[in-house]
Symmetry: C2
Subunit: 412 residues, 2 copies
Amino acid sequence: MDIRIDIARLRRDIEELGRIGCDASGGVSRPSFSPADLQARAWLKDRLAAADLAVRQDGAGNIFGRLGGDGRPVMTGSHIDTVLNGGMFDGAAGVLSSLECLRRIREENVPLAKPLEIVSFTDEEGNLCGDFLGSRAFTGRLNREEIERGLTQLGIPLADILKGTEFSAESILRTNAAAEAAAPEVEAFLELHVEQGAVLDDEGIPVGIVDRFSGKHYRLCSFLGKAGHAGTTPIELRKDAFLGLADFALRSTQHVATRHYGSFVTIGRVAVRPGAFSIVPGQADFTFEFRSAAPETMKALETELFALADDVARTRGLMFVSKIVDSTTPLAVAPRILDVLTEACGRLGIPFMKLTSGAGHDAQIMAAVTDSGMIFVPSPDGVSHSPKECLRWEDLEKAANLLLAALLRLAS
Amino acid sequence: MDIRIDIARLRRDIEELGRIGCDASGGVSRPSFSPADLQARAWLKDRLAAADLAVRQDGAGNIFGRLGGDGRPVMTGSHIDTVLNGGMFDGAAGVLSSLECLRRIREENVPLAKPLEIVSFTDEEGNLCGDFLGSRAFTGRLNREEIERGLTQLGIPLADILKGTEFSAESILRTNAAAEAAAPEVEAFLELHVEQGAVLDDEGIPVGIVDRFSGKHYRLCSFLGKAGHAGTTPIELRKDAFLGLADFALRSTQHVATRHYGSFVTIGRVAVRPGAFSIVPGQADFTFEFRSAAPETMKALETELFALADDVARTRGLMFVSKIVDSTTPLAVAPRILDVLTEACGRLGIPFMKLTSGAGHDAQIMAAVTDSGMIFVPSPDGVSHSPKECLRWEDLEKAANLLLAALLRLAS
């Protein structure tokens, strides 16, 4: 069956959703369960129902829209939550492309051997407790403790954010427990998403097929030294925790850039204590993460980078302490999914390249329960998590048509 | 006249004041105009009155206690405010030693050619708007704008802090304006203070005579780069503002330690934006300060260190911007004051050494209107701005007797 999506209609949907939670400067702020997100959820459920899909949601707030009857569904979707002051495409482009695909299939009455189901996962962006709350709960992979502690990244208790909604920490944990007891039956999962990097844009290629998900290793770290008066403690007698961090930042970056080219290391958040003009820092707290596409590199980086931190601490008379927040191993996309996608590109005449997904995505969480793949749309200049985030409609049209063709093939 | 202070009585005073604003762990928190500080002010005024001194306060909350009639007074004092979670000696030891001196002179009815006046300056610690609010207002050296902006270091509006007190931004500015119009007439000023460094303790010398005040240069600085996704932006394409700061921190410290040994450079506060695990920092804001005892070194440091910052920015594709917050030139103590103090040490048989004051003190502000000097009491292990701050009573006794002898000499 040779059908195509309607890019004009898809664009209208994306632009309409993009106005919910959008400020004057064009930034979209729609963290899960914020007033803007609740409005977006109601809008999405209306849209799914209008497309004649069977709409439901689970205790974690994941929203589903099904076409076809019972059985293991071929699932597709992404998320509609955003970072604070983010863009209108990250997540939304995937959910609404999925909707457009199912809408077209419904309109053409294409016969399906297996049901198709759209999903919009809660809090992909990790504004609440940990990353990927929705897809983790759906697959039974939540960190219970984190939910029970209930302190969100936004600094507001989870209970306060959920107050007045249909959801609660208990309903989220129930959904997770049910999936732990019996993994959801899913035939396959496909997610369309903006690349959030500049690889496709640099290469001038309109569509990316993800063949591998990077591993990630997240830690909260501290160098501990001794606070002192900035005007009376001679430099040679200081135990300046911030200089330890500065040293580690440069050496770890240098190490990754020279010994493990293509891997990533980032210090994204820093707090220095006590934190005053005239006090030598006695403590430097920071987030530290590294990523690589190869499992053996991830292992080597963990050993080498923290040995380096210990060495910096020893050399400078400091202590180094750290706590793992999250750690995932690199993952190859199932050959069956790659075959379906590359074959469809060939048939549709869409130029594509295979690439590694460096960012984390719900598709990676879904890979624990089913064959899971991703289609990337180029991000001009690689801009992401910013009001300036964008995509080209002609690229999105190709990617959504690829998604449509792959879904039909998987559900046939 | 050969009289001595009563160290037991002085100790009781210090310990009594030390209980006001003291928490269970021994930390004293008495920022100016906090409830604890208001209680301490009332306590001090009672003590001054009980010693038969003429008590008054000005619009900036500086408290005075005078012995003798009209005329240019020889002044002595320090401050009773503290940093948050500080110690019981920083400031209080000076004010109460001054009180003990005037009390003894009063008790012995020593005839004075000039009046003596104690002062306890408001907010030496800079918890409100800028450093040295009290002594700056007294000498007409306030930054008007800073007071008018009214945002305190504690993050609370100045107006809220002053609500319910006898003081206001207007009363502070009036005091300052009066001193701008006519500088206060002061014969000389002496301040006894804990060293807040480890020099005297290391040398095993009980008393320090400050012969020079370090110059300080304070700036708020930023490296500006470009935020990016930590999993999709290759290291070689990043403009990581935090790595710029790390580089500058190490190079500036190295530069001062090797080319200007004995000078100080400190990065005490750091904020990285946007500040998330998975985002390459696009901006790194930080405080930067350096100090030196020599005017020519201060000039060289300003040129060299900011050239270095520009070089770091250029090398890394960043921008460097900065704004001067404060800048003072090194200052020599008047020979007359040094003569009085060293001569008194000789007469009393007190071992002493001359040293530079690296920290800032009200005495430095007072130097703008009169001959101003300082007596340092050793800080065991150099601990300062901490509940563990301490002094040895036998050292304090020597220092307070030196203060007494010097005051008598200056007022004779």
